[in-house]
């Protein structure tokens, strides 16, 4: 298993992928956190979908991770794209046959790939957390936000909890990407379908019928990253999201193990 993870990490650390992804993470996590403080008095809102997050909320122990938490969905989309591309490209490049000749344990390949991509996602989340919290610390005084509670024991706990929630959410998005990559066997199809579904179709469905929010996979994973929302309880999101990810992973694993590798 270690060999598979090590081989996969070698692919993931190539500069164009690694540095490109990290640059996007740095930019957007910095931007999301910066907007919270720079637009704090804006009537159009300073957070996701025009929500207003005031000084009182940002001054709480959870205020320091507010920006980082709201980056969770975006990090999830990045993870979905990376996981989907890394999985599907083995089919389009024809490299899967090389992998299976060198490591015939198909489940081992799949789990090894997943672990390596989780490590990649973890690094991405750490970078996002450092940038998000760092940006908040730098910009809070200028926005007259009190940061006294941010690094108390409650604040540290909030950072830890938020980090865990974002990690669960991002890994969930990533596994969905991997499942799409295995099912569609084309990076473009897998990424297009995943992004289209999560960013457009789900939002349209929720706009038409709000109660669907309780059942759609992207909404669950976004809610997990935020530690639950007013409309979607954390436990509910964790259960429904877990079912989606679990079933998807099982179906993909069975297909991967049994399917002929004919390209």
């Amino acid at each position: 298993m270690f060999n598979v993870v090590s081989a996969e990490l070698r692919k993931l650390r190539r500069p164009t992928l690694f540095l490109g992804t990290m640059a996007a993470v740095v930019f957007f996590s910095g931007l999301f956190s910066a907007l919270l403080f720079l637009l704090i008095d804006s009537p159009q809102g300073n957070s996701d979908r025009g929500q207003v997050v005031g000084r009182e909320v940002l001054g709480l122990a959870t205020g320091g991770v507010q920006g980082f938490s709201s980056t969770g969905g975006f990090l999830g989309v990045i993870a979905l794209c990376v996981f989907a591309a890394q999985t599907a490209q083995e089919y389009t490049y024809g490299t899967l046959r090389n992998l299976l000749i060198r490591q015939p344990g198909r489940l081992r390949i799949l789990i090894g790939k997943l672990i390596a991509m989780k490590i990649f996602a973890f690094v991405m989340i750490v970078v996002a957390a450092i940038i998000g919290i760092g940006t908040s610390v730098v910009l809070a005084p200028g926005a007259n936000v009190n940061t006294d509670l941010w690094f108390t024991s409650d604040g540290i706990e909030a950072i830890f909890t938020s980090f865990v929630n974002v990690t669960i959410s991002v890994v969930g998005f990533g596994i969905i990407g991997m499942v799409l990559g295995l099912l569609l066997r084309s990076p473009i199809s897998a990424i297009s379908f995943g992004v289209l579904w999560l960013l457009i179709i789900e939002n349209l469905l929720i706009a038409v019928r709000g109660s669907l929010q309780n059942w759609l996979p992207g909404a669950q994973l976004n809610a997990i990253a935020s530690g639950g929302t007013l409309d979607l309880a954390y436990k509910n999101a964790l259960t429904v999201g877990g079912i989606y990810v679990g079933i998807g992973a099982i179906v993909a694993a069975i297909l991967f193990v049994r399917r002929d590798v004919a390209n």
Binding site: N3, R10, K11, R14, Y93, R97, L99, L100, D260, A262
Partner: protein, 301 residues
């Protein structure tokens, strides 16, 4: 201890209603170079994929180095393979691509540079794979196949895209490997190459084995051919008629008549041609080569 590197019995693969490989049987002895030939679509690559555990046979059984093909994990660490051309990550260098496979298989990473040198890519190892020519990609594919120091090497069209010098190098490499005890199972369209390096031949046609065994046995089964060429091109048809009148099969190919007959019939042909007013410019015996045998057995020409 088994004496065969590859052994298959009643092996078939069916896709929907099409039998890609139909109940084939053959054996490849250890330490030999075995050519695997057949027209496009005859089932060579499908057979190789089944032997490597990439696709599941519909019927039959096979053994690689004494282990059943249902358990590729038992033998693949001793097998090197390049199937259906080289396939690597374009954004990684040749060196990095081999490192990925070396890590995956748990092979010593020192072998990567040694193999790059061996296939003539030592100076381009750090270049990205996407910048390689077709010949360089083939060489990298062969290097990847050699990573495990294989007991059995399975190569699908390894000389595709190589220049004559490269083909000669690969031929020498395969022969050296066989001399060191590696069994080489190689498919190629360059039948003249296979004829030079192979000890054994497995010939497929429409998913069925038409011959499997030592190449000498194959050639011995073939009738010798007399090549006759007339001074006047218009006389070729008359030569065919003379041969057919004597009960020999004859065809015009490349401005000469190919007659399936023993050489001791040549004087008779010469005499008959003279009597018919034909001046022969050439009358020579020719033992069939692998290419002609292939075309005859697979019915391609």
């Amino acid at each position: 201890m088994t004496s065969t590197a590859i052994s298959v019995r009643d092996l078939s693969k069916k896709y929907d209603n099409r039998l890609a490989v139909s109940h084939i049987n053959f054996e490849v002895p250890l330490g030999t170079v075995c050519g695997f030939v057949g027209p496009n679509g005859s089932g060579k690559t499908t057979t190789m994929r089944m032997l490597l555990g990439l696709i599941t046979p519909t019927t039959g059984e096979g053994h690689i180095l004494g282990e059943p093909i249902e358990h590729p994990e038992k033998y693949l660490s001793r097998v090197g393979a390049m199937i259906e051309g080289p396939a690597f990550y374009p954004a990684l260098s040749g060196h990095e691509n081999l490192m990925v496979l070396a890590k995956l298989g748990g092979f010593p990473i020192e072998r990567v540079q040694i193999l790059l040198e061996k296939v003539g890519l030592g100076h381009r190892g750090k270049s990205k794979y996407k910048t390689y020519s077709l010949g360089m990609k083939q060489r990298l594919g062969i290097a990847a196949a050699l990573l495990p120091e294989p007991k059995l090497l399975m190569l699908d069209e390894p000389t595709n895209g190589l220049d004559p010098e490269g083909i000669q190098e690969i031929r020498a490499l395969l022969r050296d490997l066989a001399n060191e005890g590696t069994t080489v199972f190689v498919s190629s369209h360059l039948l003249s190459e296979l004829e030079i390096i192979s000890d054994h031949i497995v010939m497929l046609r429409k998913g069925e084995v038409v011959f499997a065994g030592p190449i000498g046995d194959l050639m011995a089964k073939q009738q010798p051919t007399i090549i006759a060429k007339s001074l006047d091109h218009l006389d070729l048809k008359k030569i065919v008629e003379i041969a057919q009148a004597s009960g020999h099969h004859a065809v015009i190919r490349n401005d000469s008549v190919h007659i399936l007959a023993a050489m001791d019939w040549a004087p008779e042909l010469n005499k008959a041609a003279f009597n018919a007013g034909i001046t022969l410019a050439q009358l020579a015996p020719q033992l069939p080569n692998l290419e002609e045998t292939f075309f005859e057995m697979t019915g391609d020409k």
